[in-house]
Every structure is written in C-alpha cells, then in structure tokens.
C-alpha cells in the first residue's frame, strides 16, 4: 500500500515541478471556452443555453492534453519497468497514475469551471449540479484516459491515436453530464443523469485499471 501512495506522491511532485504542463491544460480549457462567445455571438440567452455543453466538451478535450505524457515519459526513461517491479499489480500502478491525473488535471478543471461558467452566463441554479456532475465526470475522463494512454505506449504517433480511442468512450459521460446541468436549469429532476454518471464511474473504477494494467504488461514485453 505504501508503494501505491509513493507512486501517486512522486507523480504529484513531478507535476508541481513541471507546473507549466499542468497549467497548459487549464489555460487550454479557459481559452477554448472563451472562443465560443466569439463564434456563436455574445447573446446572454444563447450562451446560457450552450454553457453546460461548452464546459463539458472543453473540459474533456483539456483532460486529454496531459495523457500523452502520462506513461510516455516513464516508458522512455525506464521508470515503467521499475514501477512494474514494485511488487504492486500492474492494475494498481495504472490506478495510481489515474489518481495523479485526476488530482493534477480533473480537480483543477472542476475548480476553473466555476469562473468559466460565470463567463458563459450559466444559470446559477445549474452551477452546483454541473460541478456535481463534473466530479464523477472528470474522474471518468482520468480512468478512460489512463486505459487509452496505456494502450498507445510505444506506438508511433500515439498522441494522435489517443483521442481517437478515448473520445468515443466519453460520449455517455458528456450526454449524462450535460443532461444533468440542463435539467437543473429547467427546474427538472437531476437525480437520474447524476446517478447514471455515478454508475459509470463505479463500473469504470475497477475495469479501466485492469485494462490499463494488461496494456502496461504488454508494453514492456
């Protein structure tokens, strides 16, 4: 168990040292969201209507940015071999990586979503529900992303392949996430979409690390 948290702590420390990489995903999120008022026009009603969708899609794309290096750097410098020799199952190594991705990307995106939603004139009643949906939503992006990143280790042009693998998987996450925020905006029941998101998270929590672990074993062979 101590080995597990050692991997998480080491990755968090590395992200702090390379703060620019972490910040890049957040800035991408802010800039991409800020382009929408320019593209669809600054009418407050239009923006309020589109805000949940804009925030979800931009958060999803921003979460993809650091995935390329999630295992890439460790594979190239030999660290991945050492991680698989720590005595932890490969799936636990993958879960540790997913946690560090969420803490360095998912959680900051969740926080930055607050000012972005104000910028996009999101209904204040919908904001708490949007954030509540982003909580399992960003965790799901980290889990799917970890599995995808593990699969493309060592592949030529892996960075291009990765979004093609991960984005289709995230379709249900976006559907239920936006549905929850929309329902809150219209004063409807938000429980069903939020429960669906949570159910997806509960299913992905064991499955994605297992898949990623198998991919890690395959990558070093």
């Amino acid at each position: 168990m101590s080995g597990f948290w050692f991997i998480v702590a080491r990755d968090l420390r590395l992200s702090l040292r390379h703060g620019a990489d972490t910040l890049a995903a957040l800035l991408f999120f802010v800039i991409a969201s800020a382009l929408f008022p320019l593209a669809v026009g600054p009418a407050p009603e239009t923006l309020a209507r589109l805000a949940p969708g804009i925030i979800w899609v931009c958060a999803l794309l921003a979460a993809l940015l650091p995935l390329d290096r999630l295992f890439g750097a460790d594979f190239e410098d030999g660290t991945l071999d050492q991680l698989l020799l720590t005595g932890l199952p490969a799936s636990a190594v993958a879960l540790a990586k997913a946690i560090s991705h969420w803490v360095t990307t998912g959680l900051p995106l969740l926080i930055v979503a607050v000012p972005v939603s104000l910028m996009l004139n999101l209904d204040t009643a919908a904001l708490p529900v949007l954030l509540l949906g982003l909580l399992p939503g960003t965790a799901l992006l980290s889990l799917f992303g970890t599995a995808g990143a593990a699969l493309v280790i060592g592949a030529r042009r892996g960075g291009v392949l990765l979004p093609l693998l991960v984005l289709p998987l995230t379709a249900p996450v976006v559907i239920f996430g936006v549905a929850a925020a929309d329902a809150a905006g219209m004063g409807m029941d938000v429980r069903a979409p939020l429960l669906f998101l949570t159910a997806l998270f509960v299913a992905a929590l064991p499955l994605c690390p297992l898949a990623a672990g198998a991919a890690l074993r395959g990558a070093v062979e």
Partner: protein, 190 residues
C-alpha cells in the same frame, strides 16, 4: 535459489535463445556473455518477469516465479540500459525509501538534494545502481551495470556486490566489461 528450466525466447518468427537451463544459488553470481543480439538483455527481462517467456519455467525456491508477476517483481532489482532517473526530482526523491543507504553506497550522499538534471551520465548511472541497495531485493539482474562508470565507482560497486552476496543475495549480470564478481559462473549465449 533460482532454477531455470528449458526456457526459450522468441521475437517475431526468430528464436533468440534456448532451450536454456541453469540454476543460481543464494550468494552466487552468474555472468551472461555473448555477442550483441545473443539475447542477454532479453533473458534478464524475462527473469525479472517483464519479458515474454515462450517456453519453459522459472522456479524461485521451488515455486513458479511467474505465476504472480507482481510478487516476483518485489524480489527483483533490475538495472537495465535506461537509468530510470527523473531529471525533475532530487537524488533522494528519485530513490524513495532507504534513499540514504543507497546514496552512501554509491558515494552520492553529498548530492542527495541536488536535482538529477544536474547529474552527469556517470552520476545518473551511479544513482540507478544505488537503487539496488534501497530496494533490498534478493535477486539482482544487471544489464551492463558498469557502462560509463569511473574506476573508483566500479570498486565501490564491487563492494556493494560483495555485501549483497554475503547477505545471501544473488547476482545475474550481462556484461562485456570485467566485473568485480569473484567466483562468478559464466553462461555464454550465442
């Protein structure tokens, strides 16, 4: 005791080596020699549980070592061609638990809090070797461990190897350079 029975490795359509059988007792050392491409690195990775074993079995104290690769990994310290050193972390952070003992063994204590990006290639190599001491695993698998080391460091590494073997650990090393491993058996791959 590590008992290797009739193992072979295949890459693509080509057999790299095998069938190959040997055993290494606690406290023993074995040198893997042979020309480039003979499969020394592949054999070491297979023994570490990282590579793919095409046939045969590897027994650790009589039990199938690769049945639980995670548990086997904890018994192994592997130093490959790559140093697995993160430039953004200090020497101490790179090693993790028991870092100070490892740094002491490779005479890097004075650089403990230096970021590894300031290290020379030889110092990075010494840091990778220091990890052997930190991990306290019984099986050391070394792939060209002394490449790029100065004479004093090779001598220090020799002491490390001797201490490890005196404590009942075993060493398997691929090498083209003479290693300070007195009484080591030799396995020639061709």
């Amino acid at each position: 005791m590590l008992d290797v029975q009739e193992i072979s490795a295949i890459r693509g359509e080509r057999r790299i080596f095998g069938p190959l059988s040997f055993s290494v007792d606690d406290g023993d050392a074995m040198l893997l020699t042979g020309p480039n491409g003979a499969g020394k690195s592949t054999l070491l990775r297979i023994l570490a549980g990282l590579g793919r074993l095409a046939a045969g079995s590897i027994l650790w104290n009589g039990n199938d070592a690769l049945a639980d690769r995670a548990a086997h990994g904890a018994l192994v310290s592997y130093v490959g061609h790559l140093d697995a050193v993160k430039p953004g972390l200090t020497a101490r952070e790179n090693l993790g638990p028991n870092a100070l003992e490892g740094l002491e063994a490779m005479a890097l204590s004075h650089l403990a809090d230096q970021p590894a990006r300031f290290f020379s290639a030889g110092q990075k190599r010494r840091l990778a070797l220091a990890r052997l001491v930190c991990r306290q695993a019984p099986i050391w698998l070394l792939d060209e461990p002394t490449l790029g080391l100065d004479v004093a460091s090779v001598a220090r590494f020799g002491e490390m190897l001797a201490t490890h073997r005196a404590q009942g650990g075993m060493v398997l090393s691929a090498t083209h350079l003479p290693l300070p491993l007195p009484g080591a058996k030799e396995l020639r791959l061709s």
